[in-house]
Point group: C2
Chain length 146, copies 2
């Protein structure tokens, strides 16, 4: 036991980093089957929730910049899951809409969350609480970022 603050075990950031990693590896085989990467999956989830969002709207929910989203969305378009069309009302905006294939993918994706839940070996209640705490942390970090 030392009080050296530069010790890996003491790092909340490493806990986050490595847990996120583990999550990714767990998702990977399932997402491969859907032909999605993890960030792409998140975009699809937001679209399944609400179709026809703008690039900026999606970015706001996922905390991603347009310079990240634009190429990602083009890949989703190339894969046939979405359409990208300029908004009629405001031609600065681009609307992202699910294709039939994109909508159909939701059914297949429905199998994923139960698998993840299962792998956590925790109850939904425990996870809900943990999730809330992690989000509280995220909000503090965002607020205090330069």
């Amino acid at each position: 036991m030392t009080d050296d603050p530069l010790k890996l075990d003491t790092f909340i950031c490493f806990a986050l980093y490595s847990a996120n990693h583990a999550m990714n590896r767990l998702y990977k085989p399932m997402l491969d089957a859907l032909n999605l990467t993890y960030p792409q999956y998140l975009v699809m989830v937001t679209l399944w929730e609400e179709d026809g969002q703008t690039v900026g709207g999606i970015g706001e929910k996922l905390f991603l910049e347009s310079s990240t989203l634009t190429p990602l969305l083009k890949r989703l378009e190339a894969a046939g899951f979405i359409h990208r069309t300029r908004s009629k009302e405001d031609e600065r905006q681009v609307l992202i809409q699910l294709t039939g294939e994109g909508k159909a993918l939701k059914k297949k994706a429905a199998a994923v969350p139960p698998c993840i839940l299962d792998a956590t070996e925790q109850t939904a209640e425990e996870l809900t609480r943990l999730k809330a705490e992690i989000i509280t942390l995220r909000e503090a970090l965002s607020k205090n970022a330069a």
Copy 2:
């Protein structure tokens, strides 16, 4: 309110993903000043804890493959922070050792953790508990990964 499991808000994974993201953005300006990326920083932390580890040893601690570490370590070597030398005892292994510059960097890096702690707006006790819970989650996920 729906019970649709494919809702972004219900995803523990998204909480992890976005919190990790926020953490990265918080770290970035500080790590830029040290000339390190975040995974490189983690490697340096493990070396500050214990110098002269093997590639595999570092990978085990950080949950990274050698195919990820080798190029990363080469960058650290090019930056002048470490040396890579074949082990005399077992020439399959490569030992990673801090240079003077690499050791010196620890002093500068000491300023980082307090900044992070501060930005979390939580007490050390709260963070310790949260960290433990996240690690428990990580362990369950790793165990159940394909």
